[in-house]
Amino acid sequence: MIENMGEQVEDIINIITGTDSTSGTGTNTNAKVNGQLLFCDAKNQSELNDFIDSERPKLVALVGFANYGKSTFIGALYELLIQNLNYSGYSFVDSDTYVGFERRVFLRRINDEDTSDTKRNVLGENDILNLVLRSKEGKIHQVILSDKAGETYLKYTSSDDEVKDDRVLENADLIVFFVDAEVDTQKLADHILIAEKYEGLLTRLKAQHKITALTSYIMVYTKIDKVVSDERRKKLADRKKKLSAIFTENIGKEPDQIYEVNSKDLNHNTLNQVFEKIISPLTSVEAAKELDWVKMEIDNQK
């Protein structure tokens, strides 16, 4: 029995770390249900409606190609939320996708470029994570994050069919586009490759009406700690302008903001600004004043 338990624990560790590419098959007791590897794992986009309780939650799509730092970024957000009782005015209350977050925290720790997105893609991992947060005033709100493997977006650049089935981007309240600042400031060819991949992606998204001029989006340059020399800083400033022009042309509006972050430094000021933008609740639409019928009757009669 103890041996069996040991095997099960090993199975779970393998699944969480993404080191077992055979998981979800054969005799594994954690067989996939709706793409979920474990209870409380990330969910599938087809389950988006299940997150809606009394109001539609805020939906944030994290978009970027493999190794652009999405998992490190989201792992940092999760760590900050569980480490701080009050983070940027909000307390972390609950999540239906703890395992999905834990896996990303793990990947953030090992940060091995060969394991992150590639392994997640091999596993066909789900992308939907949720955070239930409470404001200082005691109001509860929910934020849903979509963290697809970077390879998914690479497929989008070459296939309309792949893009067509995406339900996240067209519904997103905020899209965060990631750019690897370290790679973008290397050779010109590296920058051109990034620009081409994004141009391909944005063209497809626009053609399929997944993004419009009404889309709210930001650009986040990750691994900024690797861009130190003056030469690379200059390159970054220059190339940032060129890439944001591509976004502006395809989406039909400029990004709301462009950030430079170091996701490994939890005290990084800009990183915390981006997180605050992501976890803040949607501005609620003002209710019709006629709903308060007593107030209306009093006003009318007076």
Binding site: I52, D53, R56, R167, N171, L291, W293, E297
Partner: protein
């Protein structure tokens, strides 16, 4: 209108739209539930809806109907079920089969339960439907209010005369009847003026206790619904500046219970009489910390009492 209004309401709140065939099925099932609705089930559905819940009895009734009509079960998210529980009530109000009195009662139930959302309207689902539901009472009440007071011709004829024949008035004429009725209405007004001068009323120091007692009498003894569409003007006239006094509901209840005798309290029968029940039972409820002015409190309990006496 068919299922269009349902589709719009559901699509607005979901990330992924339901397919049209399912929407049509949900509409048909909802429509078939209208005939079985009664005041108790409406109360149950509206109460759950206003508290961001789905009524268990609705879920069960909907499941049974759906299986009867389409064989298989259907799995619906909580928000869709909440929209449907209100949709069934809306369909009842929009149906030509529903009697006017029933529509009025439903409208009053919705108004009464709306107190549960006081100060928290932004997150309320299907806001357009709720406003439409409110309006059915006004349509009905406008017909209830009788002509304005004008009886001088009647006084001039009756006061100098010794008997009816001397007046020269023809009792069978509608114009004469209308004047007699308006004289009676003036009698109601007189009762209110007289009551607020009594020591029984004057000894009440809390405006919340005053408004509670006054509203009880306006509804139960003075048939205010025939005199005016709204109690607001009269309450403002009686309470003066005190109608702006504001307190937390729990403190309002304490004040009312301190000054109003138990036998004077209205023992509510209607589930939707949220504030009357709060006062009568003196048990805390979720909205105890919400603030009410004396006038708001008075208007809410006026409509609760109207529904209490609706079938009298």
């Amino acid at each position: 209108m068919g299922s269009k209004q349902l589709k719009q309401a559901i699509d607005k709140h979901l990330f992924i739209s339901l397919d049209d065939e399912l929407i049509t099925q949900l509409h048909e099932v909802s429509n078939s539930m209208v005939a079985d609705l009664n005041a108790v089930s409406v109360s149950d559905y509206v109460c759950s809806f206003m508290q961001n819940n789905v009524s268990q009895s609705f879920t069960e009734a909907f499941r049974v109907k759906y299986e009867e009509m389409y064989g298989d079960g259907v799995k619906l998210s909580a928000i869709v079920s909440r929209i449907l529980e209100m949709y069934v009530v809306l369909l009842a109000l929009q149906s030509d089969e529903t009697e006017e009195d029933t529509k009025t009662q439903i409208s009053l139930i919705v108004r009464n339960y709306a107190v549960l959302r006081k100060g928290d309207w932004n997150r309320l689902l299907c806001q357009n439907w709720i406003m439409e539901m409110y309006s059915y009472y006004e349509t009905y009440a406008a017909d209830m209010v009788k002509s304005s007071i004008n009886y001088s011709q009647l006084l001039d004829a009756v006061v100098p005369s010794e008997n009816w024949n001397d007046t020269g008035l023809d009792i069978t004429q509608q114009a004469v009847y209308d004047q007699i009725r308006s004289l009676c209405m003036a009698g109601y007004y007189g009762r209110i003026s007289g009551y607020i001068k009594t020591s029984a009323f004057k000894k009440l120091t809390s405006p919340f206790a005053q408004v509670y007692v006054l509203v009880c009498k306006m509804v139960k003894e003075w048939n205010w619904k025939y005199l005016s569409l709204s109690p607001v003007k009269k309450l403002v006239e009686v309470l003066g500046e005190n109608c702006k006094r504001k307190k937390m509901l729990s403190n309002i209840v304490t004040e009312v219970l301190d000054e109003v005798q138990k036998e004077q309290l209205c023992a509510p029968d209607e589930e939707s009489s949220v504030l009357l029940t709060r006062v009568y039972n003196n048990r805390p409820i979720a909205i105890d910390s919400r603030m009410f002015t004396a006038l708001e409190f008075g208007v809410y309990i006026y409509y609760e009492m109207l529904l209490e006496t609706f079938n009298d």
